[in-house]
């Protein structure tokens, strides 16, 4: 209904109770600590260190390391668990995990070692495969590499020549009178391997030939025996690595049995980390600590009651917020409006002194999205799938809001679809389902009128809210000048095209004169007062274009309907005979899924736009900061009782 009223909370307690108190706050999820600027920099008060006392050994374990270990282990096993499964965490279980923490830390480190080993094995295999590829072409050289060396009179060379150059190379060596011998040994990717022997007297000639054919002297790093031996040796090494890999695999599968415990530990640690982050905002003395922050005013009694049980030595104060104090913004709305808070959040929060826009915006967003997607069957699909996944995945917080938003928008889509008689596009019409009201395709003028009418209503609502904000602040004249006179002018202009056009024209004229006289009231000189007032009438065109903007409701609704019609047409053509019917079904299924996705995206984007630009533009005051209380966020677990954290 409104922006939640906040109170300033300040609390002094013994340090020995700190963790207990923070845990209570975390479980309640309604206190946000603020950073205390320590004005008196006396030694007795100092910034608290982020060291919690609950799970001491846990400080050794880095949470990101734990996260990585979990994703490593997931490769080694498979758990059959239902969609959205979460570990149920009781206090006993939590205690049990706390006691196992040393052992689990060991498991995490083991996982890290496995990961390291695995990457060693991988890089080792790549290296060996490369070496084999290098040695393989020389395999027919039946002597150890170290024995291939020059003698007193001859030179021996091993090397490769490119495939293009090899013919010339061989021909020039085959020329008569050359005291040389060569043999082609093998083939690499882009050349041939040669062994070449010649008399030292030929050095000069040879140098030219070798250069011309780009003879590449081979290097044999890493082995001295025959290439064949080397390849066998490398292959053996690869086999050894493969065995190690299996070993790692087995070890991983063994460690996999601890994955449930690790996941619970991950959540426990991240809950603790959140708490530690708040601890950094406190001030501490040797024995006590001070916390300042925000809490919803309505929760005062609840917080007091909970803290009283912890210890006698707690002093807690709730203070009303001063006039000019800026406090964080939280919304409180009924379950039907709450999902729409996401739409406002994406735009930005209203400032704390303004009003909660959700209650006004939600009905419009609901209606507009519904018109733009506007298909009864699509609506049912959205609502059913939305409900299923929100329930099944046990979504919480913002996730749940998005889930229920999908459901609500599905309902809106269903309603409008039924009103317009659209079931899978013209699918309903083909089997004789009549629209409840009218079909926009056969009566587009009525449809356009409906869109503009809704636009008119929304724009006027926006102006009314602005006027109400002004009145609430005691700016009665502003409300009358800026909104009242505009109402008069705009309503007058509309009435001019109705039978009571005389009334309309008088209203419009009075409104216009009033605006000319008042809109320049903040200007200094008489002349600029008048010109500003006169120019303000130009805003009539702005209101006109605002209303015309609502024609998109029709256009996007049209897009959904016609795309569906395209696929239905294709399906009908293929469905004409039994043979092609098997093609018709996948085309219809894929086509309508595509249409839901594309049209829902368009409907969401343009419904948002109409709120943000046309509606919020009339009254919204942005710039609020979100209320971020300390609370429990989990990934793998569901906390059953408060004592578990």
């Amino acid at each position: 209904m409104a922006i939640v009223e906040m109170k300033k909370i300040s609390l002094v307690a013994l340090k020995s109770d700190k963790d207990k108190i923070l845990k209570i706050f975390q479980a309640l999820g309604n206190v946000e600590a603020i950073e205390i600027q320590s004005e008196d920099s006396k030694e007795i008060v100092k910034k608290a260190l982020a060291k919690s006392t609950s799970v001491k050994d846990a400080d050794l374990l880095d949470i990101s390391l734990l996260g990585r270990a979990i994703s490593t282990l997931k490769r080694y096993g498979y758990r059959k668990k239902p969609l959205g499964f979460k570990h149920a965490l009781s206090a006993d279980k939590s205690k049990e995990i706390g006691q196992k923490i040393k052992f689990l830390t060991e498991v995490v480190l083991e996982c890290q070692r496995l990961e390291d080993k695995l990457s060693d094995i991988r890089s080792g295999k790549t290296r060996l495969t490369n070496l084999i590829a290098q040695a393989e072409p020389w395999i027919s050289l039946d002597m150890p590499i170290k024995d291939v060396k020059d003698t007193k009179d001859t030179k021996v060379l091993l090397g490769t020549v490119g495939k293009d150059a090899s013919e010339t190379f061989e021909r020039s060596l085959n020329e008569p009178l050359k005291d040389c011998w060569f043999q082609r040994l093998g083939e690499t990717k882009d050349g041939y391997c040669y062994i070449l022997m010649y008399h030292r007297g030929l050095d000069a000639d040879m140098a030219i030939i070798l250069k011309e054919s780009a003879f590449n002297k081979a290097t044999f790093a890493g082995y001295e025996g025959t290439p064949k031996n080397a390849v066998e040796n490398y292959t053996k090494q690869i086999e050894a690595l493969d065995e190690q890999f299996l070993e790692v695999q087995k070890q991983g599968e063994r460690l996999y049995s601890h994955i449930d415990d690790l996941e619970i530990l991950f959540d426990l640690l991240s809950i603790k980390q959140d708490r530690d982050a708040q601890t950094e905002r406190l001030l501490e003395t040797r024995e006590a600590f001070l916390l300042r922050g925000w809490a919803p005013a309505k929760d005062e009694a609840l917080i007091r009651a909970r803290l009283e049980k912890v210890s006698e030595a707690i002093k807690i104060d709730f203070e009303d917020i001063g006039r000019d104090e800026v406090y964080p913004v939280a919304f409180r709305n009924s379950a039907l409006i709450r999902p729409f808070e996401m739409i406002t959040k994406l735009y930005g929060l209203p400032t704390h002194t303004s009003i909660d826009s959700n209650i006004h915006m939600a009905p419009f967003f609901f209606a507009f999205f519904g018109i733009m997607l506007g298909d009864a069957a699509y609506g049912i699909i959205m609502a059913v799938l939305g409900t299923y996944f929100t329930k099944k995945l046990k979504l919480k917080g913002d996730g749940a809001k998005i889930g229920w938003l999908v459901v609500l928008l599905g309902v809106a889509t269903f309603i409008w679809g039924a009103v317009f008689g659209s079931w899978f596009g013209d699918g309903g019409a083909r089997i004789g389902i009549a629209p409840i009201w009218f079909d926009p395709l056969t009566n587009p003028m009525l449809m356009l009128g409906l869109c503009f009418g809704l636009g008119f209503v929304q724009i006027f609502t926006g102006m009314a809210i602005r006027a109400w904000i002004n009145i609430k602040r005691g700016l009665y004249l502003d409300a009358f000048f800026d909104q009242g006179l505009w109402y008069m002018l705009l309503i007058g202009l509309v009435l001019m095209i109705t039978p009571v056009s005389v009334v309309g024209s008088y209203m419009a004229i009075i409104g216009a004169i009033g605006l000319v006289l008042t809109q320049g009231r903040s200007q200094k000189s008489i002349i600029s007062k008048f010109t500003t007032g006169l120019l303000s009438l130009y805003n009539v065109s702005a209101y006109l274009s605002d209303v015309l903007s609502y024609s998109r409701l029709f256009a996007l609704g049209l897009a959904t309907a016609v795309i569906a019609m395209v696929f239905n047409q294709l399906g009908a053509m293929l469905g004409a005979s039994w043979v092609t019917l098997i093609f018709a079904i996948p085309i219809l299924v894929v086509g309508h899924i595509f249409n839901i996705a594309v049209s829902a995206l368009g409907a969401y984007v343009h419904a948002s736009r109409l709120q943000y630009i046309e509606f919020f533009g009339k009254y919204f005051e942005g710039g609020g900061r979100a209320f971020r209380p300390l609370d429990i966020k989990t990934k793998f677990t569901e906390i059953l009782e408060e004592e578990a954290i």
């Binding site: 959040k345 994406l346 998109r552 049209l558 995206l601 948002s608 736009r609």
Partner: protein
């Protein structure tokens, strides 16, 4: 084959073709930006994909008008007679979404690319990032409406 029928089909070609080109270029521009952002942070795939999809609607609007012309001329059932005047009207009726679709698709692609850059730096501002390209689309929506009214109400 009559001139009117040929003109009507030319209208189909122009609305589907031009608007499709616009969307293809626009989605391409946005896709290049999106790929860049995702190479830095793969988790942003979903967010950037939505922005990349935004300039894709012009192509759909073009197809929509093209389909409506085919529907009105009963092309799939052998095509009715279309007078040359009616043919010209269908052709001109197809032009708004064809031309505006072409240029707004490209412009929206650029705005989307810039918004994808916005997401790269401030992923929490998705709502605002979507609105900038959506502003461009307004004009494609208006053109669609104009095209629809002409094509749907031309007396054949």
């Amino acid at each position: 084959m009559e001139l009117g029928q040929v003109l009507a089909i030319a209208g189909v070609a122009l609305s589907v073709g031009l608007a499709g080109i616009g969307s293809a270029i626009g989605v391409g521009i946005a896709g290049q930006s999106a790929a860049g952002v995702v190479s830095e942070d793969p988790d942003k795939f979903g967010q950037t994909l939505i922005l990349q999809a935004l300039p894709g609607t012009q192509g759909i609007y073009g197809l929509l008008i093209g389909f409506l012309i085919l529907l009105r001329t009963e092309f799939l059932a052998g095509m009715i007679d279309v007078s040359p005047e009616a043919g010209w009207m269908l052709l001109f009726g197809a032009l708004p979404i064809g031309i505006v679709g072409l240029y707004s698709g490209i412009a929206q692609g650029k705005a989307s690319a810039a918004s994808i850059g916005l997401i790269a730096k401030r992923p929490e501002e998705q709502g605002k990032a979507i609105i900038f390209p959506a502003m461009v689309e307004t004009y494609a929506v208006l053109a669609l409406l104009a095209s629809f009214l002409v094509v749907w109400f031309v007396r054949l």
